[in-house]
Symmetry: D2
């Protein structure tokens, strides 16, 4: 499988490295508009061709797929052209700038039979896989909420609010863990720059059965926090992604509602037990993602981070942006 | 000054201790419906009279004031009767169950000339006083946001949602630090019990000039967090109330917006400097609160934790509850 | 059982409270040289007699026992007089200033049949009991080392070095967990004051079978650390006494030595598994200690924190002091 | 300047990278006994020659210097041959296996006029440079002690005890910060394997003027700790090398001895003030080390991490090993 990497900025080098190392995979081209970036490719990978002309890749019959790691607003055009040229396509998250664009790409993919996949890398991490396992095996009981904080002093972006930058990770994880798509979205935020795009924002997703998810995203926090609480009625999980070897803490805490009730308190039976920090392997998530993409092309399987999951994230981001503009409007799907 | 303490549950003993130790103050009575609780008073304070009959206190001409530490739904009646009987009144937070009740008590206070005060203890902590000082002296620059997390595995209450239980602290601090009352409120939450009262809730306050405050409150978190971020454009503060000696961290972090702009990024100048953990005295906040109450009675001064601040908190809680019931409705004041 | 508390400084009030609450126990007297301290007793406990004359207690036939919480150099005389007067004796750690004194008290106790006990409170904590249980049930495998750090900015004492102040806790825990007395002691330290007594010191205990224990004690550390590592070849335990609810972490880490060996490395098989933070009850250790003392008097049982364990600690402290003075001399017992 | 890297195991790749990037420097050869390791070089750096024959390098007149990153027991022979062949020599820490060898290399260097330098990388870190600056500018007052903990579950080595593996970093830092060589060494340890080499060891260095340094080194700790306390009488520093952005905490804590004294306490005046976490640049220490080596060759300057500092570390390690074998013997220099 020969793959061209489109964009050699922050993420591109990771894609080149992982698709070079993956089985049945080879990087044929790297595209970037900057010659300076391409010089770095030549130095590290003398065998990979480079170009500033996207057409070179589209016209190369030996290249089977492209992996797009450029700014979001360019995703749609690049992916569309690649699919029309008969290439399989992998796109960095978020998939596109709008639901309309995502839908169009998915239709193209269905028509052409080519794989369209989005890179929600986090789904492939050992931590998220472990959490998923704890949920599906019933170990945490009934899932009730997900509460995520993803804040730091980050680079403001010109074109999008902070949710488009920081929330895709958490939204894709959340939909995956809930195994559901929300029934409604609600979001608020504040902007402190002239472009009037929120640099601090709070997003709530409402799922069936009173399940709720909340995301605290900020580019203007003095501390860096990457923390997610996953609450079941039997056990609760704290996922701290800044920890290197202790990413998950499983709390044997929960409560059950006792039938009778007295005057001042609900009769609730609390349980507080041990905490377990499971040993989790530290494989590189991106390698698993690359393998899943290659596998999808080869075996026609549906990848974990499918175009459907990519569309779902964009749907939520688009609705969240509308909700912020309408003062926290509750937007049902 | 002779003070009667009304209610000897969780908080009452602290009031008895502090008003016993305060200058120009003496505890004359303790009222509680439970004889068992009153036995504890007799054992520890043989000189304090106890009663299960509130009238005993109302009719005692030597008692100047009452301090009410009973469940919220009883605050209004107890305070009203005390004011009518000519007593000064201190009420635990939140002041009452409704804005209507708070307004009525304030009117009674104005008519009678008796002090009506609410106990927002946190305003008297050295940490909050230090933060206020950093703001008013301009050291953090322009205040932009407050982000608070107050979560733990807490006792569900039968009559109120989690905001009435956990948010009053943060709201009173927030109004005090912002030196303002919000222009609007928005809140969402989820309930996992039959009474349909949220046990997890998210409250946002919108202030003038794009300032925003957000409160994450939960009774169903496996970890206990008491954390508040106070963001200015020059410096930012992290207030971690679970720390004993390092409650505040002052980050010399900020950003300024640079006039020109390029294509992909706002031109923003970030600054990351030292972190300072100031030495803060550890005086008991409740002692300062008691002193402020006595002082208000003696000198007719307006206490820091005034009835106005109590009313403001109840206004916000009432609006927040309405917002939750209306799916995150944006409620303007 | 009527007990007199000797000394009402830092620790005395805790003894009064616990012996007042314990079953079959009553505090008859409190002795202190300071009238001011005794006034505090009168205020809080009007029914307890107070005196500045130790004879009052020795001559009171109704008082069965004394609990001595005075400076170390006074322990011997006070305990000796009490035993001669037919009282049971509890002494705060360290038991006496010298081995000679401890031996004399133990002989007196054996002759009179009265209980002599030392208060090594830590042995009664739920954390230490849990660790002991993990060891005796074989869960951590073969115990190999104990490594303790007990440092902070502490009050320098005039008469003793830092080990006499800080190490008794750790030494008593260590002997208890090792279930052994060391074969040798070695210690070094440094003094930065005129009295030439070490304010920072390092103590090593050598036990049979290559087991080692090391204690880092300091009055001049900027950070407060109370941490003990207990290493087995199957599991290892971290005991952090500054944590409130997460005092113990049990690491499923260990190694086994594999028969063959290669050129550059020992063949060792490492194992890294989960970490468990067990839920531990939070009962007050001092209450259990008080109960054990009363029980020892009533049933003639040997208390956990026996006079033998008190003597052992003094033996080690005395040898450690000699070792420091002789530049780290290895002192065998 | 053309440099050959000797050994391409754990550390060699870092040397190749840094000497490739450094100004006025080029990597000419990489030597390793393993063809497999050399294949990795060829893949990443097609322009660098590789060899399994050390003579190729010694006979290459264009190669100015060698950087030796092989196991310790090989350092001496490789360095000696290189110096005899007229090359400048950089050796990874510890410089050699014995004082005798170090002395011989230093003599060779003096005779030949070629640079001999050891790579104590830590001396070039921004954190250590900041600490040094705080000391020499008098900001922490009189330096009194250094207390270091460097423990984790590490790979046992066949030929050396844990001090030879873990202590060189701390010893080189300590001598540098003390600006002195110790007057005596004392060490104890325990072995739990057949080779009888300590896998847990405690090393104390005694410096003039009651200054003391203590090192806790272990391969059998469940937790990884890299922590150093640097105590002055005015301020104290905590250096936690596992932190990424908050490596140093400067405590405005100290004490002064007050002339008079009372009966129970030394009269000591304690001071507890703010804590500062300084912003420290995050430059790569190894790049500065490489620059210092090239500079020493070019300008005949004495590098910070000189052969003298390398010898000093070996002297201490050799004495420490003897002290452990002699039950903590106090060994004066």
């Amino acid at each position: 499988m020969k793959i061209a990497i489109i964009g050699y900025g922050y993420w591109g080098p990771n894609l080149v490295r992982n698709f070079s190392l993956a089985e049945n995979s080879e990087v044929s081209w790297v595209f970037d508009l900057s010659e300076k970036q391409l010089d770095r490719v030549k130095k590290s990978y003398p065998n990979i061709k480079t170009t500033t002309n996207y057409q070179d890749i589209l016209h190369d019959p030996e290249t089977d797929a492209v992996a797009i790691a450029t700014p979001v607003f360019t995703h749609f055009e690049l992916a569309k052209k690649a699919m029309i040229s008969g290439k399989h396509v992998l796109i960095e998250k978020p998939m596109t700038s709008s639901v309309k664009e995502s839908n169009e790409l998915i239709q193209l993919s269905q028509k052409s039979g080519k794989v369209l996949m989005v890179d929600h890398t986090y789904l492939y991490t050992d931590a998220v896989q472990k959490i998923k396992d704890l949920i599906v095996t019933g170990q945490i009981g009934k899932l009730q909420y997900i509460d995520s904080t993803r804040i730091n002093l980050g680079l403001f972006q010109r074109d999008v609010n902070v949710l488009w930058d920081l929330a895709p990770h958490d939204i894709s994880i959340c939909n995956y863990l809930m195994d559901d798509f929300p029934i409604a979205v609600q979001a608020v935020g504040a902007a402190h720059t002239d472009n009037n795009l929120a640099n601090i924002a709070y997003l709530t997703l409402f799922y069936n059965d009173n399940k709720i998810a909340h995301f605290n995203c900020s580019w203007i926090s003095p501390v860096k926090i990457r923390q997610m609480l996953i609450g079941g009625d039997q056990k609760m999980i704290l996922f701290n992604d800044l920890e290197t070897t202790e990413k998950l803490r499983i709390y044997d805490k929960g409560y059950s509602i006792v039938p009778e009730s007295d005057r001042n308190r609900l009769l609730i039976d609390y349980r507080i037990g041990d905490i377990t920090i499971p040993k989790i392997p530290q494989t590189e998530a991106l390698a698993s993602m690359a393998k899943d993409f290659i596998n999808a092309i080869t075996t026609h399987s549906v990848p974990l981070s499918s175009s459907k999951s990519g569309l779902d994230v964009v749907k939520i981001l688009e609705a969240a942006e509308k909700s912020i503009q309408n003062k926290g409007q509750y937007i049902e799907f």
